[in-house]
């Protein structure tokens, strides 16, 4: 019998939570099996389903996940042991000696944390980045006419490794910091890493946020079921009606950076940002909705980012869990390091209270954004993307005092609506430029596209042949516009703190069902699927 399918994984299309197999086979079967299992066994069913899912999309590469779980369990317990010993050792000692002994133990714990980092980052470096680095070294060697060429390996990467590695690392650091107790229960730890809705595209959860929730899952409640399904539907609308419909246009322009004038490039850049937002936040709606059905509350990954007033605020509202991870595990540890603190105090004396801390902050920010860029992929355009944001955010902070003075002199009310709208539009434009480089096939191509906006800003290609060339028609763009208005309206209502699903739940059943039927029919009719459309992979699954 041919068993090779065991290695390959049988459901690659399931990386998309809007794929037919996932929505109409995997998820329903999972829910039914889960629902009929006795309460005590539910968590194990959830774990089994999660591992099955991972195997279906990644095949034998599920081994990496297990390896990661085993390593963090051992390292976590080791840190716990060291902490216990430390406590016992310092108990009887006088105050002066306490510190030295404590330091000794902390050193050991740090070594264990370092080992954890080495395993996870090392694995990522080998699997995800070795090809990129070695390829660049080869280019460099060739530039110096060096006859040596290094072998550039390429590895099969398990889906979601960029996501679960970060979760694993956060667990070890949290144990080290004493924020969570080391877990002796392997199954719970594994479920924390592998919970199937979040494994492909996040959100990146902390042990303290989800582990105990996942381990205490109960029966499916009707309210959770309806709320979860409604959220999945809403995400489906974003992904199928808007994101997938814009795909041909975006693809065309970014693949042929030389063939369009500035006007079209602006259009494509805007469309790409819209596509990315709708794709990723739509997928997140599906993820959080699915978790909600099980009664699990995952952290939100989006908080209406396009209402942000600055780029730095934008990154607190877009892919929140990634930004928070970098902030907690890179930014603050770097700035809190002793040398950095010394740097800060000496810089403050020389540069003043505002600029002084920016020296250390800038270095930390640089680390964050180089990591952020590389996390998205091994490529110069991603590094460029990171550096672009680093410069924007740092310079935003540097000019704060100056811009405040200017505003005061011009008598502009910084909290007035007009200025707010100006800030929001400015932020959006800056973000769109960043995403243009993010999407471009390489930095050169990105520069070409960006340059054309200025050197070739005309709308001469806006004729009746433009849209057919771009693979869309006026109806596509119109329906995207209409749907975006719906999303915009919902965002404004959410921004005011109103939960639409709860408001809806209070209405009578006829009204409720009519709204849902309208939403479903809207997706069925206006969705970009089936004939004439190629299913688009979720954009963040590849990172």
């Amino acid at each position: 019998m041919d068993l090779s399918f065991l290695l390959a994984g049988a459901g690659k299309t399931m990386t998309s939570f809007f794929s037919m197999t996932y929505l109409f086979v995997f998820l329903p079967v999972c829910l039914i099996v889960y629902a009929i299992t006795p309460k005590k066994a539910k968590k194990y069913v959830l774990l089994a389903e999660s591992l099955l899912f991972f195997w279906l999309v990644s095949g034998v590469l599920v081994a990496y996940l297990l390896l990661s779980a085993v390593s963090i369990m051992c390292l976590g317990l080791l840190i716990g042991k060291l902490q216990e010993k430390q406590r016992a050792a310092v108990k009887e000692l006088p105050k002066e000696e306490k510190k030295a002994v404590k330091q000794e133990f902390i050193k050991k714990q740090r070594a264990v944390v370092f080992l954890g980092v080495l395993i996870h980052i090392g694995l990522l470096l080998v699997l995800k980045y070795s090809g990129f680095f070695l390829g660049n070294i080869n280019t460099l060697l060739a530039a110096f006419n060096c006859p040596v060429e290094m072998y550039v390996p390429s590895f099969a990467m398990p889906i979601g490794i960029s996501f679960f590695s970060l979760q694993a690392l956060s667990y070890i650091v949290d144990v080290y910091h004493g924020l969570v107790k080391p877990d002796k229960n392997f199954a719970r730890l594994l479920l924390f890493l592998s919970f199937f809705p979040q494994i492909v595209e996040g959100p990146i959860c902390r042990y303290g946020q989800t582990a105990s929730q996942l381990w205490e899952v109960g029966s499916i409640k009707y309210r959770n079921l309806t709320f979860g399904l409604q959220r999945i539907l809403y995400g489906m609308m974003k992904k199928l009606v808007i994101a997938d419909r814009l795909d041909p246009l975006v693809k065309k322009v970014f693949d042929e950076p030389n063939s369009f004038d500035g006007g079209v490039i602006i259009l494509a850049a805007v469309c790409y940002t819209v596509q990315l937002y709708m794709d990723f936040s739509g997928s997140m709606d599906a993820v959080l909705g699915t978790a909600e059905i099980f009664g699990i509350r995952l952290p939100e990954n989006f908080e209406r980012p396009f209402f942000s007033r600055s780029v730095s605020e934008f990154w607190k509202r877009w892919h929140i869990t990634l930004g928070a991870w970098f902030k907690d595990y890179i930014f603050f540890p770097v700035t809190s390091a002793k040398r950095m603190k010394n740097l800060t105090s000496s810089a403050r004396k020389k540069l003043g209270n505002h600029f002084g801390p920016l020296v250390a902050g800038g270095i930390a920010l640089f680390c964050v954004w180089i990591c952020n860029g590389l996390w998205h992929g091994a490529g110069w355009n991603f590094i460029f993307f990171g550096m672009y944001h680093f410069v924007l955010i740092l310079s935003g902070n540097i000019i704060t005092p100056a811009s405040k003075k200017v505003l005061q002199k011009l008598h502009i009310n910084a909290s007035g609506l007009g200025y707010r709208v100006f800030q929001i539009i400015r932020t959006t434009i800056l973000v769109i430029i960043g995403e243009l480089f993010f999407r471009a096939n390489g930095v050169g191509s990105g520069m070409e596209l960006f340059g054309r906006i200025f050197t070739d800003l005309s709308f001469r290609s806006f004729d009746e042949f433009l849209l057919p060339r771009l693979g869309v028609d006026i109806f596509d763009l119109s329906i995207c516009g209409v749907t975006l208005l719906i999303v915009f309206a919902v965002s404004i209502i959410n921004e005011k703190g109103v939960c639409i699903r709860e408001t809806l739940a209070k209405r009578n059943i006829v009204f409720r069902w009519c709204v849902l039927y309208m939403l479903i029919l809207f997706i069925v009719v206006f969705g970009a699927y089936s004939f004439g459309y190629i299913p688009v992979d979720p954009m963040y699954a590849q990172f």
Partner: protein, 341 residues
Amino acid sequence: MKETIKNTFKGILFTLILLALLWSVSWIFIPRNNTQDDWKYDYTANGFLAEPDNSLDVLFLGDSEVFSSINPVRIWDSYGITSYCCSTGKQRLWYTLEYLYDFYKNQSPRVVVLETDLILKYFSIDDLILHAPEHYLPVLRYHDRWKKFSFDEVFRTPQYTYIDDYKGYHFYSDIDAADEEGYMEKTDERAYISKMNRLYLNAILSCCNRNGSKLILLSTPSTKNWNMKKHNRTQQLSEELGIDYIDMNMPEYSVDIDWSKDTKDKGDHLNYYGAVKVTDAIGEYLNSLGILSDHRNEKGYAHWKDSLDKLKSDVKNKLKTEYVSAETKKNQKDKEVPENG
């Protein structure tokens, strides 16, 4: 418990109403005609809808290999046999079965020829789940026709008026030579066929049997899409199912494709010249079955003559040569042989 039963009931009711809704809105989206404008996708393959009832005796099913290499008009010219190519780009077996079902609604073909390229081609469960319900809820397939929505149409029943001159065949004049290296290299290995493909193949066969049609497997020549592994698997399948199999990639069928001239895209598809050779070979085979009648002088087949005229003028305009019928070609060849010998 009572709550659970109530909620389950609610869920079922919700789903039933939803299905009813989808079914009823489907009516709005069904194409009202089979013209390119109405159908948008694969309209040439749907041209059979406008052909007179029970006028087509042979059905060719397959992906782009079929519409590029089989010319029903030429078969008509040679033998008076009426046939149609329900072939669409990247066709998969689930779609093939749909065409077969649709075809039997108004036609009763004696022979069904299934091109083998798609038999071994993988299709995902996703495709299956997406497309299987389309048969019952057409809105899922034709939803994109909201772009053409008009109020008059809603109250009109479909009427098919588009007759495809070439009966599903696509005329290609380009020449782009193929690299023959490794083509049909000998091996005993067999290509993989998935369980699902096998199920669909069985379904197609039993549908043909039910309707009294003879099913034939045909591999058209292609350096890119065909190889010995696939041949071996198909050979084995045909023996298992007890159906005829013609592989025109094999030398015994003497199709004599000239890979420097007869392909339009480096051996992926044939052009007009290649199609002539394949068509003559399959025409001869169909004729030799002895179950297909010659309709050339019968009433109600006049539009085939128009098609032939169109083919002749297209050959003249696009290729700058005269149309050579199968008979003339044969006579020429017969003459050549003694000269050379």
